[in-house]
């Protein structure tokens, strides 16, 4: 051991053997296919969001009288501000898409089943946090659509039985959008939600390490084919490759379609055409189809069922005796999700 190595070892008493044990978790063979590696994608994008978010926070002013102007400054005057804001905006879009795809993959491969139910719940919490962080971030621009999006969302909260009004008051800092609202969104977006997410991601990864990744074997695979490969360096290389592709893709999309700005929020006039960000198209269409109380209660019921799915699935399998019942429910749910999103995207009202 060199002198530097010895010096380091004395201060960080971890042996090479211990390091190898820590990093060389056997990875199931199906993870050679990149679409099974979607769990690492949101984690990578989360890091991108934190870095770009910190940079944007140097210029952003979280108050209704100055927020729009500060975003305008970032976009049009600060050096590379347009690019960093675009990276942040597209990073959010990619991250939400990656989280949803990851969850769909976990669902269809049944990776949430016993004993991994708790990790599914943590994943669901992470999905909710991701959607919330997306919503609060979108509201920070203080343009017309983000202002009215926040107003609509707060009033949806209000329709939740028992705690709805309290939630709305706490979210807005009053009965309606006022000067206290934007700072609350900012704190939630930049401090409360990211910290919660870091903690949840740590527990999520710890539980994955404790249980190991669910093994998934395709029918075409030979029985004598190797079942595992090494995390380091084999899987690490796949993740690095995905990271590189994402970086190129994110930079390209941010340059070709940079983040723009709509008109400044006007609390006295709702725009003729109002749409939330694409990830809320489903709930927006749902709200148009049904009365508010039904839409809110049914959404609550669906979200609760998603949280409890590992147990609901187990009960359904026991009841029907059919192992793949969740797959068919998943197919219907995915069609509904995609169908309502496309429907909302295709029409003006």
């Amino acid at each position: 051991m060199t002198r530097v190595g010895q010096w380091l070892h004395e201060r960080i008493p971890v042996s090479g053997q211990q390091l190898r044990e820590l990093t060389n978790e056997p990875v199931p063979n199906h993870l050679h296919r990149w679409w099974f590696c979607l769990g690492g994608t949101p984690a990578y994008l989360f890091v991108v969001q934190i870095i770009t978010g910190i940079l944007l926070a140097f210029y952003y002013k979280g108050a209704s009288e100055s927020a729009y102007e500060s975003v305008h400054y970032i976009t049009h005057e600060a050096t590379y501000g347009w690019f960093l804001r675009s990276l942040h905006k597209w990073g959010a879009t990619f991250m939400i898409a990656a989280v949803i795809l990851h969850q769909i993959r976990v669902y269809f491969t049944g990776a949430y089943r016993r004993p991994r139910e708790l990790n599914w719940i943590i994943g669901m919490c992470l999905l909710m946090c991701t959607l919330l962080v997306g919503f609060t971030g979108y509201s920070l621009v203080f343009e017309q659509l983000s202002y009215w999006g926040a107003t609509v969302a707060a009033n949806i909260c209000d329709a939740v039985p028992l705690v709805g009004t309290l939630c709305k008051q706490m979210l807005l800092g009053g009965a309606a959008y006022n000067e206290q609202t934007l700072p609350r969104f900012y704190i939630l977006h930049a401090a409360v939600l990211p910290t919660t997410m870091i903690l949840l991601i740590a527990v999520h990864i710890a539980l994955i390490r404790l249980h190991g990744v669910t093994e998934f074997r395709s029918e075409s695979e030979h029985d004598d084919a190797p079942r595992h490969f090494n995390f380091f360096p084999d899987h690490m290389l796949t993740e690095l490759m995905i990271g590189l592709v994402l970086m190129i893709l994110l930079s390209a999309v941010s340059t070709i379609f940079p983040a723009t700005m709509g008109p400044r929020a006007d609390p006295l006039s709702t725009p003729e055409v109002i749409k939330p960000e694409w990830w809320f198209y489903v709930s927006f269409r749902w709200l148009k189809l049904f009365s508010l109380s039904f839409a809110v209660l049914s959404t609550g019921f669906i979200v609760a069922a998603m949280f409890l799915w590992p147990w609901i699935d187990a009960a359904l399998r026991k009841l029907t005796g059919y192992e793949e019942v969740s797959v068919w429910i998943g197919i219907v749910a995915t069609f509904l999700l995609v169908g309502l999103t496309v429907w909302e995207a295709a029409v003006t009202h």
């Binding site: 009288e65 706490m170 959008y177 609390p267 006039s269 709702t270 148009k288 508010l292 109380s293």
Partner: protein, 197 residues
């Protein structure tokens, strides 16, 4: 350099001495306890008593802090509303309406429905959709108030005719009105984050 290293070593040795002394005393105490079951049980009782007192104190302290944080985050008031002058009663004839602009910038349609000289003869409709809080606007060609958020529509009386508000029977909220000495007053919001232009 050499001296500071020696000093540090000395301090560390002093520290070691103190720690070993504490350990020795603790071990001594534990040793006595294992020999005497009664003493062990007393120590556990003492621990439980002290622990629950301290734990209770911490819970009470942090609980109070939690309540204070909740009250700190809960909004202090729901915004300022005040009575504002709209017009003299004779200025608005039956069937006519007048647009009133509140200090917050909100535009309110005030219409007279009967000859009565009381507030009940008038109607002042809020432009906030009762469904999810978007602003409705008047569409003259359709003779209706329309909300672009979820396609809600209302007639000139504020009654819902289409969309989610019609399904839920939600009508446009009326601003409170009062008549004093032949003058019509409205209770309207005084402030908003709308930018003054």
């Amino acid at each position: 350099m050499r001296k500071s290293l020696l000093d540090r070593e000395l301090r560390s040795r002093t520290g070691v001495k103190i720690v070993s002394e504490i350990l020795k005393r603790t071990r001594g105490h534990a040793g006595q306890s294992t020999m005497n079951n009664h003493a062990d049980s007393a120590s556990r009782r003492a621990f439980l008593l002290t622990g629950s007192c301290m734990g209770g104190g911490l819970i009470a302290g942090y609980g109070t802090l939690g309540i204070m944080a909740g009250q700190f985050l809960y909004p202090a008031d729901d915004g300022d509303f005040g009575w504002q002058f709209v017009a003299s009663l004779h200025e608005i004839a039956v069937g006519e309406s007048r647009e009133y602009v509140a200090p917050s910038g909100a535009r309110v349609v005030v219409a007279r429905q009967t000859e009565q000289e009381t507030a009940d003869a008038f109607i002042a409709l809020s432009s906030v959709c009762p469904h999810l809080g978007c602003r409705v606007h008047w569409e003259p060609h359709n003779s209706r108030f329309f909300c672009p958020c979820h396609n809600g529509a209302f007639d000139r009386q504020g009654q819902p005719t289409e969309g989610p508000p019609a399904a839920a029977g939600q009508q446009l909220v009326r601003f409170p009105l009062k008549v004093e000495d032949g003058l019509l007053f409205i209770e309207a919001p005084l402030s908003s984050i709308a930018r003054e232009s």
